[in-house]
């Protein structure tokens, strides 16, 4: 059993406590915007916010989420108003295949919360998500645009 909050909604799910939060979110809560890419916290496709902290959910046991507030990509917008990172992503047409972008956006949203005007060096040291399509040039431009939005 695990009880936590996802995008403001309380959930109470019956899973093995070692189940990664990623799979609890995808399969038990039913939100599939958060992606599986590696399972060993290397690629960042599974990034969600746990009590406001960007966390790679594929290597984070659901038992550790007990009582926490989880935000996924589906909960980043406020109603119909997209988060400024999502808006910048659309304006700069960042996604190619898009599979890694949920995690990328969640990581960037956290960066901008901590550093509203990040430098390139801040971006380099904080955003370590893998994107095989190679969208990084647009990612960087969109981060700066979001910071100035």
């Amino acid at each position: 059993m695990a009880r936590f909050t996802v995008n403001g909604r309380a959930v109470d799910i019956d899973v093995d406590p070692n189940t990664p939060l990623l799979w609890a979110i995808r399969e038990n809560v039913g939100l599939t915007g958060t992606k599986y890419g590696c399972g060993i916290a290397q690629c960042g496709a599974c990034t969600v916010h746990v009590d406001g902290v960007a966390t790679r959910s594929c290597a984070f046991p659901v038992s550790a989420a007990e009582g926490k507030q989880i935000t996924t990509i589906e909960g980043l917008a406020q109603g119909n108003t997209l988060h400024k990172v999502q808006q910048a992503w659309i304006e700069h047409e960042v996604p190619q295949c898009g599979y890694c972008q949920s995690g990328m956006i969640m990581a960037v949203a956290q960066l901008l919360k901590n550093k509203p005007k990040p430098t390139d060096a801040d971006i380099d040291s904080t955003i370590t998500n893998i994107c095989r399509c190679g969208t990084f040039q647009q990612v960087r431009a969109a981060i700066h645009a979001a910071a100035n939005a």
Binding site: T19, E27, Y36, G39, C97, D124, G134
Partner: protein, 727 residues
């Protein structure tokens, strides 16, 4: 959900097809379904366009979207000829099954070899033009005025005396008219939608988590499977102890899949994976269990001097020129196995009943998937269908190979009526790849006493993709795999970009047991390193500037030269580089596009910093310049990731690297600034591809700059094996 169509598999054209290599590759399947089941939009104006009463334009797309923007580009081309209002344009995928039923009305579904747009632009544009003519004729009939007096623009038709209507109002009548054959096309100079940096379809759902990938499918009653195939290629399942895991929570079934794999089916992926990890499996590893990277390398090395070799390009007498040279330069290069590592691991969802088998799959080739469904289900084509899903990366892994579709159907066949979503772990994805083939290469150049290059012998030794994947094609070519010579071939879409008086490019074929595949760019990746790094070696031996040296061999290759000159000019080749910065160049013709790259790097100890890349592309036409920018920039992430980190090592017959911790990929901090020059030269010749060609210039441009910076020439890859890192 973005799932849709249906179809069948027919003919499949690889890489250097019709124009030069003659590599049109076909295979047939039994087909001939009689009934339509696709819920395609109506009314149809020919097979490519639907205009609904509300003026919505639906463009039919046969190719697959995996991030390269092909569906947007194809829709732009159709909308252009249709004279549609772009804001009303959307798209749909006819299924492979529907394509079979209609005698392949939408032609090829294959989305590889950078062919999405370049191979289909003419007939899809004709589809748009035909629909426009039908709409005009319908309006002319209604108004009883000659069609010549009517004009279509922005989804509106106007006529004499202020007559005006919209596409939607006449679409139903137009759909009953005959479809004009081979209508005239617009001069691209007059394009208004095509050729513009129009925003691609599908971005909003990709930034909100709403895009549905194959991994995300949900169906009532669905169960999840995950699988392990014998890690030694060619091995089989000997035994497994299902009783150890059948009582684990959520587990529904433990089963052998074919001779080579074992799967667990459970309520959730995590339950299935946990049980599969706990399942004792004994493998019969077969005859390849002792093969290693070292043993493969030894075998390839022997091919560098073997007597027998297939010729890909030849003029004059290279061996005589080398024997009589005043000066000879020789170098041996090698290139490793690599995995595609799509961000979304392989997957497929299958629903089997004795009457029908349907599969939902992210695929680069819906027809290839369809063929796999027929083969694995044993059902006839009219009882099968495939629903394509946009891909979380493809890069060649999801085209010619449909192993995961076979697996999903085989599992589903054991559980009739239950939808089975087969998900691979990253580990399975890494060890069951279809790998970039291994290749070694001995380069020998001959100079006369005046430092003119008089001869060149490029001897490839290594693995053929086609010998494994399309053996009948190799057989037809008397054992040769012409695809091996991509970028250095005698003619065609992968023609060599230099003229050398005495030239021999040949291949000693050596096929290890590791299954090879089409890895984005395919064989240009190694060939461009071999030829373009060696050109710098030759220039150095002749005491000449690498650009000057190349230009002397490129008189007869004006389009290669134009892109090379363009990057040289933009990078500032004729001006001194900033302190500590060194420059390198490379170019190639690939997939009918001419591409060049120039790099600026600095080297500090074992750290290489790539500061800046300039890349030029002449693809004849540029359908969406914004997407070209993105494909070209992304190509350097793909190509430089391969250069610095990526090798699949073979040990005990299997692949050692199982995840990103040992098989790294570039992060944002390491990405150089990429400046793209799109310089479409137009004309009536074949169009070039965009998604793949540029990757091949990334590594040689950087390595040529590195050699200039350090005086050291690296000839084997990846660079991590030389303790070199990217800064």
């Amino acid at each position: 959900m973005n799932v849709m169509p249906k179809m069948n598999r027919r003919s499949f054209v690889i890489g250097s097809a019709a124009a030069g290599g003659g590599l049109a590759i076909g295979f047939d399947l039994p087909f001939g379904p009689k009934e339509a089941s696709a819920q395609l939009a109506t009314p149809e104006l020919g097979v490519w366009v639907v205009v609904k009463p509300d003026d919505t334009v639906v463009v039919r797309i046969a190719r697959s979207e995996m991030g390269q923007g092909t569906i947007t580009g194809l829709a732009q081309l159709v909308a252009e000829e249709l004279e549609a209002d772009w804001s009303k344009v959307t798209y749909e995928y006819p299924t492979p099954g529907e394509n079979v039923k209609r005698k392949r009305a939408w032609q090829s579904y294959s989305t590889g070899g950078s062919r999405g747009i370049r191979e289909s632009h003419e007939y899809v544009r004709q589809g748009g033009a035909a629909a426009r003519l039908m709409l005009l004729q319908a309006a002319a009939n209604e108004w009883k005025v000659p069609v010549e007096q009517l004009k279509a623009e922005n989804s509106t038709i106007t006529g004499p005396g202020g007559l005006s209507t919209t596409f939607g109002k006449v679409a139903e009548a137009a759909s009953k008219l005959p479809v004009p054959e081979k209508p005239a096309l617009k001069d691209p100079k007059n394009w208004k939608i095509a050729g513009k940096p129009i925003k691609r379809f599908g971005t909003r759902q990709r930034v909100t988590g709403q895009q549905i990938y194959g991994f995300d499918l949900k169906m009532p009653g669905m169960l999840i499977a995950t699988i392990k195939e014998c890690p030694v290629f060619g091995g089989k399942v000997k035994s497994f102890d299902a009783a150890k895991v059948t009582s684990m929570k959520g587990v529904k079934k433990v089963l052998q899949v074919g001779d080579t794999a074992v799967a667990v089916v459970a309520d959730t992926f995590w339950q299935a994976k946990t049980a599969l990890d706990a399942l004792p499996i004994v493998w019969d590893e077969g005859p390849n269990a002792k093969v290693s990277s070292a043993s493969i390398a030894e075998w390839l090395k022997a091919g560098l001097d073997a007597d027998q070799a297939f010729v890909g390009n030849q003029n004059g007498d290279a061996k005589a020129a080398i024997a009589g040279a005043a000066k000879k330069v020789e170098a041996v290069y090698s290139y490793p196995y690599q995995n595609h590592v799509c961000m979304e691991p392989m997957n497929a969802t299958a629903l089997y009943t004795p009457d029908k088998c349907e599969v939902w799959v992210p695929t680069q080739d819906g027809e290839g998937s369809f063929a796999a469904v027929l083969a694995a289900s044993g059902l006839p084509a009219d009882k099968c269908d495939v629903h394509k899903i946009d891909l979380g990366g493809g890069f060649g892994r999801r085209g010619g190979f449909q192993d995961y579709v076979h697996q999903a159907v085989r599992i589903a066949k054991e559980m009739p009526g239950t939808p089975i979503k087969l998900l691979w772990t990253r580990e399975e994805d890494m060890v069951q790849g279809r790998y970039h083939p291994v290749m070694q290469c001995k380069m020998v150049g001959a100079f006369d006493k005046d430092n003119n290059l008089t001869g060149l012998h490029m001897r490839l030794s290594g693995q053929s993709i086609l010998a494994s994947v399309r053996p009948q094609v190799v057989e037809q070519d008397k054992g040769r795999d012409a695809l091996t010579f991509q970028g250095v071939f005698q003619s065609g879409e992968h023609a060599f970009g230099y003229s050398v008086p005495n030239l021999l490019i040949d291949h000693s074929m050596r096929n290890p047991h590791v299954p090879p595949g089409f890895w984005r760019g395919v064989n240009i990746n190694q060939n461009c390193i071999f030829i373009e790094c060696f050109m710098d070696e030759l220039a150095a031996a002749a005491g000449q500037d690498p650009l000057t040296f190349r230009r002397k061999l490129m008189d007869k290759h004006p389009r290669n030269l134009a892109v090379l000159n363009a990057v040289a000019e933009r990078i500032g080749w004729d001006k001194p580089a900033p302190q500590g910065i060194y420059r390198g160049l490379a170019h190639m013709k690939a997939f009918n596009a001419y591409v060049a790259g120039a790099a600026e790097v600095s080297v500090t100890g074992d750290k290489i910093k790539v500061h800046r890349i300039v890349a030029a592309t002449d693809a004849t036409y540029a359908v969406n310049p914004a997407q070209i920018d993105r494909q070209v920039a992304g190509s350097f992430v793909y190509g430089l990731s391969a250069l610095f980190w990526q090798e699949c090592t073979v040990k005990d017959g299997r692949i050692v690297e199982t995840n990103f911790d040992t098989y790294d990929s570039m992060r944002i901090a390491q990405m150089p600034k990429v400046e793209t020059i799109s310089m479409p030269s137009g004309g009536s010749g074949p169009w070039g591809g965009i998604g793949e060609p540029t990757i091949c210039v990334a590594a040689p441009a950087v390595m040529n700059a590195y050699a200039k910076a350090t005086g050291t020439r690296i000839r084997s890859f990846p660079l991590k094996n030389h303790k070199l890192q990217i800064a």
